[in-house]
């Protein structure tokens, strides 16, 4: 790189860290625009509001770096929220929690197994997880008869209520869960043999298979983990809102997807990690917060999110095009 001019190097640096720069820019805008933005209360608020998306994005990020999409996450979230409240009412909190998480794990595993059976590539993960999301929707609709379930917080199940509503050293529990998941996944990815295998499968499935890596097993495992994340997110959401329904998770898979892409992950590149998930979740959270503080219309907010997604995707493809490579303009 020695020969590149200062300006060219700056361009390369910005290209590589576009997500981080974007996040900084958002924070600056927030600070300039609203005096309450940088208060501790608002920051914790942003974190708490983003934590459900963040927990989903952890799982989505794993699938994404292995070269796939998981569009069933929102539907698994809904199902898990229905199960946790429904089963808790009839049997108790522990049973509800166990069944909600097990359902998430099992449906995630079903995603993985189906994708292995069809020998599906990236494009097929779209269709199969989409199909599974419909299955989830019909299960939760059947289970709830299509109604929303409510949990009246008469202090019966304090543990359940505390998942979404209490604090550990002033930090909301959902945020603690999100950060814990980030940390665990990051450690697994970066320091374990399993993590290396996930990266290798993301980098090149054929070469990994021919090098003796159990590609099908890794796929199933990663989709199971993603399902589990959706299950956890469902429990958190049910506890925070004390309500559940077959549609409450609708659209959340797209938020997770936008967060992962805004964080700078590339599909199937076998690169990036939970740092990208954190940055992406923060971008999405702060953006939403700024729009809420400025009273932006909620339909318009969806438009802005879509634009962020398109912007990130187009910036990425600009880097790939031979004539647009900033490094070569040196």
């Amino acid at each position: 790189m020695g020969e590149g001019s200062g300006r060219a190097r700056l361009v390369v640096f910005m290209g590589r860290n576009i997500s981080l720069l974007f996040l900084l820019a958002l924070i600056l805008i927030g600070c300039a625009g609203s005096p309450v933005f940088m208060t501790a209360k608002n920051i914790l608020n942003v974190l708490r509001q983003s934590s459900v998306t963040g927990i989903l994005a952890c799982g989505f990020g794993l699938v994404f770096l292995m070269g796939g999409f998981d569009l069933s996450m929102g539907a698994i979230l809904s199902l898990s929220s229905c199960l946790v409240i429904g089963v808790m009412k009839s049997s108790g909190f522990a049973e509800g929690l166990a069944i909600a998480l097990a359902a998430g794990l099992a449906i995630g595993a079903a995603n993985g197994v189906l994708i292995n059976i069809t020998k599906g590539d990236t494009s097929e993960t779209f269709l199969i997880t989409l199909g599974i999301s419909l299955v989830c929707f019909s299960i939760s609709t059947t289970y709830t008869n299509g109604y929303n379930l409510y949990y009246d917080s008469n202090g019966l199940e304090t543990v359940f209520a505390s998942i979404g509503q209490s604090y550990v050293w002033d930090i909301p529990v959902p945020v603690v869960l999100f950060v814990a998941l980030l940390a665990i996944f990051q450690v697994v990815l970066k320091t374990t043999l399993l993590g290396r295998r996930i990266y290798l499968v993301g980098g090149n499935k054929k070469a990994s298979f021919l090098s003796g890596i159990d590609v099908a097993g890794i796929k199933t495992l990663v989709f199971s983990l993603s399902g589990l994340c959706a299950g956890i997110a469902g429990v958190v959401m049910a506890s925070r809102t004390t309500a559940a329904g077959p549609r409450i998770g609708e659209g959340y898979e797209f938020d997770a997807c936008i967060a992962v892409i805004a964080g700078g992950m590339k599909i199937g590149a076998g690169k990036g990690g939970m740092v990208n998930v954190l940055v992406g979740t923060a971008i999405l959270g702060i953006l939403t917060n700024i729009m809420n503080l400025t009273g932006t219309d909620s339909v318009f907010q969806i438009m802005i999110k879509a634009l962020i997604l398109l912007l990130m995707v187009s910036l990425d493809s600009a880097k790939l095009a031979p004539s647009g490579v900033p490094a070569e303009k040196a």
Binding site: M1, G2, E3, G4, A8, V12, T191, T192, L193, L194, G195, R196, R197, Y199, L200, G203, N204, K206, A207, S208, F209, L210, S211, G212, I213, D214, A269, G270, K271, P322, S323, A327, E328, A330
Partner: protein, 515 residues
Amino acid sequence: MCEREGETLSLSRRRMEVEMPTPALRIENLTKSFPGVRALRNVSMDIYPGEVHALVGENGAGKSTLMKILNGNYAKDGGNIFLNGRKVDIGSPKQAMSLGISIIFQELNLENNLSVGENIFLGRLSEVSGSVARLDWRLIHEKARSYIEKVHGNFSSRDLVGGLSIAQKQLVEIAKALSFDANIILMDEPSATLTDNELDTLFSIVSRLRAENRTVIYISHRLEEIFRIADRVTVLRDGEVVAGYLVADVDKNTLIRDMVGRALENAYPPKTNAVGSEYMVLRGLSRRDTSRSVSFSVKSGEILGFAGLVGAGRTEVMRCLFGADYCKSIDISIDGRKRRIRKPEEAIRHGIGFVTENRKEEGLVTEFEVAKNITMASLRKVGRLIFLSFAREKSTVNRYVDMLGIKTPSLTKKVAELSGGNQQKIVLSKWINADAKILILDEPTRGIDVGAKYEVYKIIMRLASEGKCILFVSSDLPELIALSDRIVVMRDGGIAGILQGAEASAEAVMALACG
């Protein structure tokens, strides 16, 4: 041959005349840098109409950069390009085409799901049929047919390109170039995937292009071809033109010396391996797509060569043996014990390694670092319980970098940025580290340069000398004959014969291979 020499002579006479013709293509002081690399330094050359000009050089010498500049993929940093004496600026591949420059890339640029005719006129279909509203398919295919006839293609304009052989696809590419009335046709290693018969066809077409006073720039690693087909040759090394010759005035050793910058004593290392006792016996391997079954055995320390035309089923047999593809039945015993191999994982556990023919797709994760690629088939060895030991990985990788002479600026370099020879050494390291006792090498020297080939031969010889069994699949007969102890010749999915190393000659092998 005699005819060819006559042509070369007449050309040299022409070149000696005082009045030189205007070069069809003149390149003057062309310079191109990428961050950290000077890909081309003051490259100048003249290429005349009606000549076949060979461009040789090791990987990384700058051949492809030069081609991509001529095709408008890259912008040049400095220098000038003249076509027929007129200075031109080539801004895009489309512009290159309208200037009459056409490039046939190694990985052919055809759409497999379209017909030959559609491919030839891709993007110009409405132009050809003269109406945007309705495409006149009869006219399109008729016009396509005239170009197919020009290249003597034995296929119809309505055939799907996906169903053609690689040689036929190349003809389609050439037909496409002719349809643009390209005067300068660049061919990037067109022979890499061709059999000998197909190569003859290619050469006769190149000769015809020359007879029509078109200019062909021919890039190849196989020097024999250059002597058969080219009029002049330019040698590139490290982005500079180091020599230019009339082909008639130069010999192979001189070219190799110019390419690698030193003389190469022998093309092949001496045979030092000692063949031991029978190690692996394979009986009745039968595949889904052929009724023939294959049986052979290999001894420890033996290099067992596999010859055959493209499509004879060598790669398919190796993939079955390795458990990468389904096979109907197979009976393998390794070191006296029967083994079942249903997937690569099991093959690796039983000491088999597989260097595939296309290392970028199946052998390497090219976007990853050197280290991650070397340890990918033996991750347990660099792990402690479930964790990676980075220290152990680093020392493992350092050992192979020293042992095999892998040239990389650092262990964190992306494999994609290394030369073909170094990439192949990384694939070999991967299998040596996985403790492979039986190594399948499928075209291990394809697409790597002369100097690196010799190093790969040395590694193969060294592994055999250590008692490893080598299954050596190669379409390069000289190297196969020089290294192998025995040669299995395959034809139509079955074994046509097995030759002892001593009795193997190129003629004997080809006689069996062609039937």
